[in-house]
């Protein structure tokens, strides 16, 4: 964008790779601070963030030793359920006290299973200890009659929300363990059934909202995280419609039903709004709106907001900016992504939205440079490394990882190229066909 980039590359904030490596090394080698206790039951996805971040930074084979990597692999297998699938952490495994009567309280978990398999792929495990048949037999049981997937199955009831995070992970498990082969599959001499792909597609169609985004359920507010999960799941089962007419002749059900509306909604997620405390009202001030015009009433208002409040019309419409340079070129050092309409940018949506646009085969529709500036200049932590959710926030694992992943989509020096649909490096994704070959399944694409 005009002013900033004309001043030369030195003005561009850069990835402080050494600090990111330090951050993730600490996450791997020392205990996570006690504040993560509330995420104890999400440990496998935290584990995936750590392993995958080190992989994206190119140090997964140097930061942990070979022996340590073996230990990590063993821990993941320790979380494997005896009947297939994985638990989120060993906390539900009753060990010597496990019995038929308490087995219901120790279920395999859909997201845990996806993140376990993805982590094994990153660690170059040979998958020989994965209970593949059991896992693929369990998978269809995790789908409800309406096509949605749950998180766990306890006492014959599929539990957890109906939202597409579980659909994404379930179809991801299917993709890793059986490619895009549909229908019954012969494994270890037994015929293993498939999930109901068509009813899942219908589920996504019902969740398409009136403004083009995708929600978790019909009539819920569209959300970039759910939009990504829906699109990613459709890609895993080869039912994604991107609107390029290549697929429109297909006789099978596809989604989304209106790809250009989804693309437009995604493009609208990029935003200069960065201050979560500012209150979005201050961003554009209507001429007759006096109540929000006093900056002193809003202690947290951001830079742009303040400037705009002085003007009676939005600042980018005043005469001095009518020569083709917008106020944003002059003042904003980046534009991240929001998760919903009229919300501020948040690091993680750089991934959710960016990867969604990549999946829709429109990777150039957002301003990658402005996005990099938002993340590298604002949410990258200057001392600790990693990324926070909002500018100035301390880093956390989720935002630290999804920040790197978003950069991996954008072509950033020092970060491996990301396979958006799987949220891990393309390099790791390319190892999948080797597994498929061994299992005699293939990617039908």
């Amino acid at each position: 964008m005009a002013i900033l980039s004309e001043n030369g590359a030195s003005e561009e904030p850069r990835l402080d790779k050494a600090r990111h490596i330090k951050y993730w090394t600490r996450c791997l080698k020392t205990l996570l601070p006690h504040q993560y206790t509330s995420n104890d039951s999400n440990r496998l996805y935290l584990a995936f963030f750590i392993i995958s971040a080190l992989d994206l930074l190119g140090v997964l084979e140097s930061v942990p030793s070979k022996e340590e990597r073996e230990d990590h692999i063993n821990w993941i297998y320790h979380c494997q359920h005896p009947d297939g699938g994985f638990r989120m952490w060993p906390g539900t495994d009753f060990g010597v006290r496990a019995s038929k009567d308490n087995a219901m309280w120790d279920p395999a978990n859909i997201p845990a299973t996806y993140f376990a398999l993805a982590s094994l792929l990153l660690l170059k495990d040979d998958f020989s200890r994965v209970r593949r048949r059991g896992c693929l037999e369990w998978l269809p049981r995790m789908q409800r009659g309406d096509g949605s997937f749950g998180e766990t199955c306890v006492n014959g009831v599929v539990e957890g929300g109906m939202d597409p995070r579980f659909g994404y992970c379930a179809t991801g498990i299917r993709f890793i363990l059986r490619g895009t082969m549909s229908g019954p599959l012969e494994i270890e001499g037994r015929s293993v059934g498939d999930i109901d792909v068509d009813s899942f597609v219908k589920c996504v169609q019902l969740a398409e909202a009136y403004d083009g985004g995708i929600a978790d359920l019909g009539f819920h507010e569209p959300h970039a995280g759910y939009t990504f999960c829906s699109l990613g799941a459709l890609a895993f089962i080869d039912r994604l419609e991107v609107g390029d007419h290549a697929h429109s002749k297909r006789s099978v059900a596809t989604a989304p039903t209106n790809p250009s509306a989804v693309i437009s909604w995604l493009a609208y997620r990029q935003t200069e709004l960065t201050d979560p405390d500012a209150g979005i009202d201050s961003e554009f001030t209507a001429p007759d709106d006096t109540t929000d015009n006093d900056p002193s009433q809003k202690p947290g208002v951001g830079k742009i907001a303040k400037i705009q409040q002085k003007a009676v019309t939005p600042a980018h419409q005043t005469a001095e900016h009518s020569v083709g340079i917008s106020i944003f070129d002059l003042l904003v050092d980046g534009a991240g992504m929001s998760g919903r309409t009229n919300k501020v940018a948040d690091t993680c949506y750089g991934f959710w939205v960016g990867a969604s646009l990549h999946l829709m085969k429109q990777p150039t529709l957002y301003d990658h440079a402005a996005m990099r500036r938002y993340m590298l200049g604002k949410t990258q932590h200057p001392v600790l490394g990693g990324f926070g959710k909002f500018p100035g926030d301390v880093p956390d694992l989720l935002h630290g990882y999804l920040g790197l992943a978003a950069l991996g989509l954008s072509g950033c020096e020092g970060v491996k190229v990301l396979e958006g649909g799987m949220c891990l490096s393309r390099e790791a994704r390319e190892r999948l066909p080797l597994l498929w070959k061994r299992w005699d399944v293939h990617d039908e694409e």
Binding site: P90, S326, N342
Partner: protein, 317 residues
Amino acid sequence: MGKYSEDPLWADIEPLPTDEGGPNPLAAIAYSEEYEETMSYMRAVMAANEYSDRVLELTEDLIDMNPAHYTVWLYRAKTLFHLDKDLREELEWLNETALEHQKNYQIWHHRNLIVDRLDDCEGETEFVEQMFVKDAKNYHVWSYRQWLVKRFGLWETEELEFTERMLREDVRNNSAWNHRWYIVNGREAEGVKGEWDEGLRKRELDFAKNAVGKTPQNQSPWNYLRAIVRTAGVPLASLKEFAEQYASLDRPDSVRSSFALDLLADIFAEEEGGKDKAGKALDLLAAKYDPIRKNYWAYRKSQLGLESSTPEAVVAA
């Protein structure tokens, strides 16, 4: 020594610590001693399938420290139903817990379960509104509100007034706009007319237009307007006169809303020979009113078969 190991009430339970399986477990957390102890009692109780009053207390302690524990919530629900507990009391406990962990999904699922079982939503809409004071866009709370509406049939005037109240607080609250859409259109499957009803449609169009009048640079009501005409099968051009109040190619320096300009581009594109005008509107967005999306505006032009006039717009991914 801790709360449970020192309590004679728990003396019969042999705690069951978690086994990490070997060295170098992943994402291990510096748990407090209190958490480790609570967890090891919880595990022992679950292994024994004990459903008792003391178990309810134990789950409360554990949930307070780890509200994401997916089986403990189910275990608690089973215990409550097994003991035939007063579910109103459970709601009171949930009220406090929800305020502390409002972003947690399980809490809302549990509440759902309890209220469904009570078959009575008294006080629930008030509680939801209280939650919105803390965060008026909390996704779980809005989802829960939708569930209440459907489960207890709260469709009519009160719920519309509620969206109006929320939008008076913040006219940019897209969650409230979405909820309004649901209230108006959420029963079409059951044969209740939404935007297809002309009187209703006029009311909703006026409502959204009025909101645009207050905040022209607010995408929510613009999206709402577009959705109404699309859903009702009314031509997009019916919004032309209204959009031109906020953006006009004749006065390119005084556009008051980039969303009006975007809408006009779509309206022009549908007009006979209107493609060039659509292109001009898109150029204006790219150059001046919404430059962060300049690649998107160039894409929109290419969709119309128009050449991009800003070659620098398309950058490599």
